[in-house]
Point group: C3
Chain length 357, copies 3
């Protein structure tokens, strides 16, 4: 028989109440004055490491992302005639679709490589030669690979820009850009004279091994005045937690880094809780700290927000999805606009979207 609930089952709503932090980016637009000069350097740079961004460039990127988010349909032809080579030698759907969606939203064309074994690498081709090939076929490359050195080898031959979308356990710069963009969308006052209390940030992850965490910590170095304490939650020793010089870079930038092995002890003070308990290590996933777990009963501050680069496992319970703490869905949504902003600058199309050039 026909399921009597069928009509209800197949019905869906396009809108939803704004509990997931789809904060309108207008406030961020007002908090930053547009200055395209700081974006010009991006038109001759590969995007390899979070270290290559300075504060001014970051602010302009965030502003442009907010401009896209405030009015997505307005820029639908900005990447007219431009071809993206979307090369995911390490499997991914989330990050690949995030980039491809960003490129499509701006009117560009895409060629995807999703299987490393179909590439010349199986024939012993060098990554430099692959880069030289890409020079002839596209205008921009996005690359993810479990091999940490691949992106840098390819960069040596490229005359079009490449974005590192994750190189082994090293970095994932655009994820960090998206994460920081989300934080400033939530608290744009941090970028103005009216700056309220700096944020206490709590990070559940492993700085030495998780590329998303590594990149994010580097970006925090550009805004030390916005952050009070950055507490890393992990049960390892400090020597195991950080790579050589990694901790030093953070403290020299003026960040106040603490470590703690008990998440619930840190939560009552945390304004932003960043959790990522899955690490891709070469050829498999490792789950860190199944002991580290957030759910609706966690002792969160009332106004705390949670970030997670996703995909998530048991560490972030779905009971939090419908609470105001859920900014991880907004984080994924904003990542598309952040990538739109970055891609526009890389292929020298910023002049199509800025007010003053």
């Amino acid at each position: 028989m026909v399921d009597p609930n069928l009509e209800k089952v197949v019905h869906f709503e396009r809108d939803r109440p704004d509990v997931q932090g789809d904060a309108h980016p207008k406030k961020l637009l007002r908090a930053i004055i547009e200055d395209g000069d700081h974006l010009t350097k991006l038109s001759a740079q590969h995007i390899y490491s979070a270290d290559q961004f300075d504060r001014d460039t970051l602010l302009q990127l965030f502003r442009l992302a907010a401009k896209y988010e405030a009015n997505p349909g307005r820029f639908a032809t900005s990447l007219d005639g431009q071809i993206l080579i979307s090369a995911f030698y390490e499997p991914s759907t989330r990050t690949r679709l995030s980039f491809e969606s960003a490129w499509h939203r701006l009117g560009g064309d895409i060629m995807s490589i999703t299987d490393r074994s179909t590439t010349g690498i199986a024939k012993g081709e060098s990554l430099r030669d692959v880069g030289e090939m890409f020079n002839n076929y596209g205008d921009c490359v996005v690359l993810r690979d479990t091999e940490e050195s691949s992106v840098r080898e390819m960069m040596g031959a490229l005359r079009i820009p490449i974005i590192n979308a994750g190189n082994g356990t090293d970095e994932h710069p655009t994820q960090a850009l998206a994460d920081l963009y989300t934080i400033f969308k939530w608290r744009p006052d941090l970028l103005t004279e009216e700056r309220g209390q700096p944020l206490n940030l709590c990070i559940v992850g492993l700085p030495s091994k998780m590329r998303t965490v590594r990149s994010l910590l580097k970006l925090l170095c550009d805004f030390p005045e916005c952050f009070g304490t950055v507490t890393i939650i992990n049960d390892l020793t400090i020597e195991e937690m950080f790579c050589q010089d990694q901790l030093e870079q953070l403290t020299e930038a003026g960040l106040n880094i603490k470590t703690l092995d008990c998440l619930n002890d840190a939560l009552p003070e945390a304004d932003v809780v960043y959790i990522n308990a899955i690490s891709w290590e070469g050829d498999s996933f490792k789950q860190y700290g199944s002991v580290y777990h957030l759910d609706a009963d966690s002792p969160l501050k009332e106004n705390a927000i949670i970030l997670h680069p996703l995909a998530r496992g048991e560490e972030l319970c779905t009971s939090l999805d419908s609470t105001p703490h859920n900014w991880y869905f907004s984080q994924a949504r904003g990542a598309v606009f952040l990538r739109m902003a970055l891609l526009t600058c890389l292929v020298q199309r910023a002049e199509r979207v800025l007010d003053v050039i």
Copy 2:
């Protein structure tokens, strides 16, 4: 030496004589009066089951498909700026390309997922989270999966429409829509006051296990006056042939269902012969009834037409391809236009193609 036949071998013709039933859809356009009101519900529904369609909506969908088929180039920008997520967790080329072609013909953009192992599911990600991700990246989803429950799990989180392109052995609604569209293109009189003889339909397949047959039978329930007898050809018992309540739904709708184990006994009375002897069951294909076979010597009625969702094996002999019985090629062709019509409605672009809104 150069093959003396080479010039002949490489030459091809674009047109072909109309023996394969590329009947111009004009008659169908005249048989149905346009009424866009019956299409509006499709702008807030996932397409999950053939059960969700009523007669009026079906007629308007068929009319819109015929409008597209009559003048394909006219609507080349209807899906401007829209992104389709084409997710084939169960391998397919035919259905995937049918949807992707439909979307391209209307000017939209596409992101394809063709390998389940590259998705977050390999990382333990829930289908609800995948759905939430899709909300941020695209405007419409098409999903095929061997797991029957996947589409429904994803529907729970989606705020963009999804089409079930085949969920295990359960349903394949758009294939059934294409099949019925083909039947009415062939006999548009069935929808008018001048209705001639109702059709005797002969189905070679297994209603309990074949998703194409399951969906088609449900749609027939909306047009009982068009069909005389529906004869299912199979060598199993009635209990094995139908799922619980399946037969009851059909007879309560007014269809006259018969079963027979000998195909050639049914053919002399059949106006439409539907054959599908391949079933995807979980992780492999099963060939049903290699004893069930149609070829140029089969005792078909002179004007009978044959439908097959394709791909075909030995059950449908190529000797029938050049006969007027061959409507299976037209069926595949029309499926693209039917999908164009459905997709247009789902993403709220019907007002761009209807005469009256």
Copy 3:
């Protein structure tokens, strides 16, 4: 710490000195008078074998490719509304992206098949049925398969054009077109009354087994006056080197074919050195003659150019990349424009790009 070299590492240049033979195609444009009549036959032909081209058609194809290369952005909407089915049953990234880039540059849409196991072939579907399916979904097909007969079987059912992008060890016609285009871009005088010295061509490869070499030799037959000696470098006997009738076709066309087993003995006389030491044979790669090796110390003529269809292995040393001998990068770049020209003709859009129709 932040890598002090980071800024330098991430910086890149878009332009490069013209040592890699990005010779402006203007001279070739002037050397050939446009005559679109010779392109019309291409609008009703599959592209299967290098044998199907005559001299006049080749000249017009090269001229159109040069027109594209001289001003790539000018024709960005020529394939508006056209869909390419990019079917790589045999894995490839280089050739696939070359075709897809060409199609995107002209404004068309693409559907890719990169995994043979997702196709109906896994279900026992015939290639004719696949071709009939493609008729309904696209406007042009590009196919590569390890099975030599696949393209021809599909051709039997196609009513849209198909390009053989490599069928087993048989042919790869568009690669040969790209190779000869490169040679004439370098020496356009060969096509005029001022023809200078004919070229001595040295080919390292196996004519009986390498599809790129097989196709290239056939094209040379149309321009015997342009070539002095064609020396094949290989350590096999003549019977093993050539297929039946292959050598006869070449000598009957007026080519002067020699064989030699020592590359360095041939180099001092060679104007064009074509090297390809990798052959795809069914399901794996075979490296021919690791003894055959080109590097900066090879006894090359001062003005000799090197061609290689790529991907390369040890046979072509990177020390040659920055020398004027390197025309293999230009060859890859020009291949996109050559394919743009061919595809335009195949789908009957030549009238959009020719001066006189």
